[in-house]
Symmetry: C2
Subunit: 327 residues, 2 copies
């Protein structure tokens, strides 16, 4: 039986990657710290505040509220939970494009809200008119995706914001994977581009932090307040996170990755990943595959999906294409 | 600003501890693996299966269903979620003793179920008659705690199982902290002692695994089935965990700690922790504090609470008592 960690030399479809060396080192040092208990573990709590500040910079938000979550599923679930808790409706619903990550299905089950999935347009992006048709006075949240899981599509966030405002709902942007490449591409997707209320942006995907390091951001503290549960503890009397004890490795790793890579290192990751994606798309196209144009570093072609993460080299892609040729 | 991880030499009230050296080493190696994607990361998925098997041994369950969760909050939430999803009631409720961990409050908010808290008896244990008075045909879950957060109390699990059966509810035991000391103490608390349906037992507390390593166990696969959400992936088509991407460090660390310590290492931890707790209780009592007798390695006295975790030495407790004397 194989008892070794995964070697990334053949991993072409994961949204996780090899952590940055400084992030790995920081994670190892803080393995036993619990940012969920900031009184006992103040150093890691301070690293979390700094990480959230930098995530705000990346997403165009000057005074971000939020925290380093266990991952994108938690962050998406918390966005739905806050919207549900803030909604006046007795039977709140969420409207998302059908390209949304399946964590919204999970959130709908956990939180007992109705999830309405709107068809996407010909380029696989959310169709604001279709979203509008499904939204009504019971809609608590409209979801847009900035970098879809399957094809890396960026939904028209400003138009979705208009839909959300029309029905008095919050707007959540899921940039779990896309958030670390979009600052270098030409899309309107962040808090500064539109009245976005909450966002998911995961350092442990394109951010090169070790697992578990998701990011949940909110423009207003009312959103965090809607998540708060009282604790029986003397020094920290409330908690807005979904989990209790949390990973110091994730928080310290995220902080170290952000410090080492924002912005120039992430720009290089994006440039290299995008060039690799375009090279692969061309190689597949010339072999007769139906390739979806990679607007971000993901190449989809039929059942194939290659995510051009930082560990994916041109050599790996050349081998992959050679393997296809030999089939 | 302090940028160093917490040193455990003065930590007396945390339920986390210094990981076992082998657990730390395994966690560091598997930092970039994702047990949430068993097809891409098969080795860590196999470590998780073995860890769950050992957790079953510790809790008296021959063929355990379950997984390594992010922590006790997730495990408790999943127990409530499964019970809610399996319930016929349109308005399900959960009945727990008022000594239950505040994660049940969080679960009630997230899952939109009614949480009914029953008063405890004079020894701070759940009172089955009081629990029975709050339970009704809408009760989906009865909760018992095996090692309470404040005083280490073990609820009368077999009697709570009778209450659960009387109202056709599931029974959950929260042994998040207590599960690694109770095998060596004389209580009826586990799957073999009573018809317990689900249990929380956290390797990252008394189990000496690094964070994040909680444990969620179920007797029947119907419970896991009630948590399943379909995924769009080719090879693993469903997911019962609350989070999506999960920590390889937590899983590999838990597996390594369990392999190194079960049963003899955990017995030594218990013996030393219990002896320390009794020594401290006596020292505080002789100084006039109102001490609650430590039935497990936690000492409560008024606002004071000392958790005799594996990193807590007699010398630390002597210094603590000397500090109290000098106040």
């Amino acid at each position: 039986m194989n008892r070794e960690p995964q070697v990334f030399g053949r991993v072409l479809s994961s949204m996780c990657t090899k952590p940055h060396p400084e992030a790995r080192e920081a994670a190892q040092r803080f393995l036993a710290d619990n940012p969920g208990d900031p009184t006992t573990y103040p150093a890691v709590a301070e690293l979390e505040r700094k990480a959230v500040e930098t995530l705000g910079e990346i997403t165009g938000l000057a005074d971000p509220e939020g925290y380093v979550a266990s991952g994108g599923t938690e962050a998406n679930l918390q966005a739905v939970r806050a919207a549900r808790n803030l909604s006046d409706s007795a039977d709140p619903n969420v409207v998302a494009p059908e390209s949304a990550h399946f964590s919204f299905q999970k959130a709908a089950d956990v939180l007992d809200v109705d999830l309405r999935l709107a068809p996407v347009d010909d380029d696989r992006r959310a169709d604001p008119a279709a979203v509008r048709r499904l939204a009504d006075e019971d809609t608590a949240l409209v979801v847009g995706v900035a970098g879809t899981t399957e094809y890396g599509r960026v939904d028209p966030i400003p138009e979705l914001a208009e839909v959300a405002q029309a029905v008095d709902a919050l707007l959540h942007v899921d940039a779990a994977w896309g958030g670390f490449v979009l600052p270098f591409a030409d899309w309107e997707w962040n808090f500064d581009h539109a009245p976005v209320d909450t966002m998911t942006i995961d350092p442990h995907k394109m951010g090169r932090a070790p697992i578990p390091a998701g990011g949940f951001l909110a423009r207003d503290e009312t959103v965090l307040d809607a998540l708060v549960v009282d604790t029986p503890y003397l020094e920290s009397t409330s908690q807005a996170t979904l989990t209790g004890t949390r990973s110091g490795a994730g928080v310290a790793g995220a902080h170290a990755a952000l410090s080492a890579l924002w912005p120039e290192g992430y720009r290089e990751n994006y440039d290299r990943g995008q060039a690799n994606a375009e090279w692969l798309a061309e190689a597949l196209d010339s072999r007769g595959y139906e390739v979806v144009e990679p607007v971000l570093p993901i190449v989809g072609a039929g059942e194939l999906r290659v995510v051009c993460m930082p560990h994916v080299t041109r050599e790996m892609l050349e081998e992959f294409v050679a393997d296809l040729d030999s089939l």
